[in-house]
């Protein structure tokens, strides 16, 4: 409550793009006279630059905003680019209900994280499977209607790691792919590099492949 009270003294309230919080934002900010900025999600290099540029512009710092929007160099960027090259060898999967496939790309619908765009910017080859009846629309996604089709999709696409919201998804372990969740995503430039490292470790770790081969 103390933090909420301090909001009144802020020059700007920066809002994470998360639909599930929008009512809370409204309740907190209504009538306190603090301008608010629905900011881009600061994941990956592009997202972080866009976030910084938006915040700087909203604070009336156009020079800072211009600098923030420019492509970044430096050692973090070099490392990011090197890891991008390595990431290109690995395919990452996202499985989603067909009716909710929009959440894969829209951070507002997925706790503020632009899932597929971030993974793509980090350099991974991203494949999306839309699960559900075959007649639903899910542009840009492969369709899987049954558990058997999902297993087939995981096998045929040679996916190394799959996004999951479950604490432990035995279906993925059985299929020999490494699971990962929102915990691997970290904001900021250095956070983008650490996210790449975490995902690469999951793609390279032999544990789940061993388990699937051993159980075959």
């Amino acid at each position: 409550m103390e933090d909420a009270a301090r909001l009144r003294g802020a020059a700007l309230s920066v809002l994470s793009p998360d639909a599930s919080w929008e009512q809370v934002y409204a309740g907190l900010l209504d009538g306190i006279g603090v301008p608010s900025l629905p900011a881009p999600a600061p994941y990956g290099f592009a997202g972080t630059s866009a976030f910084l540029a938006a915040v700087a512009a909203a604070l009336g710092l156009p020079d800072v905003a211009r600098r923030a929007a420019r492509p970044r160099g430096g050692r973090t960027r070099e490392r990011f680019d090197r890891l991008r090259e390595q990431a290109a060898d690995h395919r990452i999967g996202i499985v989603c209900e067909a009716a909710r496939v929009a959440r894969v790309r829209d951070p507002r619908l997925h706790w503020g994280v632009p899932l597929a765009p971030t993974l793509e910017e980090l350099g991974f080859d991203v494949r999306v499977a839309a699960a559900g009846p075959a007649n639903g629309g899910a542009a840009g996604a492969d369709r899987v209607s049954t558990a058997a089709e999902l297993r087939e999709w995981l096998r045929d696409t040679r996916i190394a790691a799959v996004y999951t919201d479950y604490a432990f998804d035995a279906r993925l372990a059985d299929a020999g792919v490494a699971p990962f969740g929102l915990g691997v995503f970290e904001m900021g430039f250095a956070g983008a590099v650490r996210t790449q490292e975490r995902l690469l470790r999951r793609c390279r770790m032999g544990f789940f492949r061993l388990g699937a081969a051993g159980g075959a």
Partner: protein
Amino acid sequence: MPASPKPPSRFAPRCTFPYLHGTVLAVNAIPDVALVVDAPSCNFFRAEAVFGRHDTRSTLLDTSSRHRVAVTDLHPDRLVSGTDRRVSALLRRLASDPAFGLVFRAVSPPAALVGTDYEAAEAQAEAATAKPIVGLPDRALVGDWLDGYEDVLVALAKRLPLPPARPDPDPGIAAIVGYRFERNEEDHLGNVRELRRLVEGLGLRVASVWLSGEGLGSLARVAEAGLLLALPGGRRAADEVAARTGATVVTCDLPFGPDATRRFVEQVAAASGRETQAAGFARSETAAWTRAARWVVTRRLVDSRWAISLPPDLARGACEIATTVGADVRFLSTWSARVPEESGRPPAEDGFAWPVPPLAAPRVRDAAAALAPVIRDLDVVVSNTPFDEVVCHAGLRGKIVPFDVPGLPRVELGFPCTRHHALHDEPFLGWRGLLCLLSRIAEFLPERGGG
């Protein structure tokens, strides 16, 4: 003007142990042998470093002073008059003891200068007692503790009395040569059980394991084996045994870590024509350990940050394990000056690559300098107890109270372990060992939300 930093001395302490430490450790692993070291009395501390501290079931020392290690108490005063009489007396005394079936003789660097006629002393003691007296090479200045351990195996392979060799060694009987049995506790006893299980899982019988905490009678059963499974530390010894028995030597990896365990089983299988059994065995064992560990791997081990400081063979296996479970190795040093590859196959041969360049027997100060930048990021340190000193120095650089690095759990492995004692079955080799070790490590790691 600030003082310039002192350059590290050539003689600054390194992360390794002297040759004679290995000799004592090997003697500790054979309960019915004794060791005479021609050395100053301070060499007796080597036995004290093992007995009760590292190995709570060691029989090296004895409350009635019937110790299995004796030193000649060499002193500068006596150097000029030689140590022959003292060596002879100790060899005879120990060889006369019915508890000992064989006596080793080793020499420390200062004693080596004296020119004692050890061969004569050994021959006399042997004639008087009818027990083998086995001289160990004078390599204390050029080798480290791993050489000291291996030289005991080689000497044993040359001199251990064996039953007459069979004209046709049975290829269905194997012996494992070169296991570094570091203590008589349930971690190493568990390893011996696991080594036997891996070989017996292919339908072979194991006649003997060198070394295994068992006595000379058990070691002599190596003569029954048609296959000598030579682990990295036992290749020279296996060749010596093979020259006496006609057995076939099979070069094997130390089965530490999932890949190395599979390779070990495949190597044994290829040598014995049991590839089909090996494939089924490896498949069912892999299914079992991965199923048991998968929650812990997913929720705790993946992304965990490790520092590893172990002997080269164990360091390699620990890195394989870390990579397999998605852990991040931030620091790596080996507790021996040997090039790490010497303890296993070279990286190019099996695709293994060190996750970070290993520091081979670094000076404590250099290891601390490498550890300091990452020490606050670590989740766990897998090392022997003396690595404390490195942690302490690294901690000081990071302004952390020595020996009290907050939240830095230690999983003790290797020689010596003075805090962790294995009172129940707790191997670290093979598939069963893998689960035990992962279980020990995971205990210290936080649950990770969101995968």
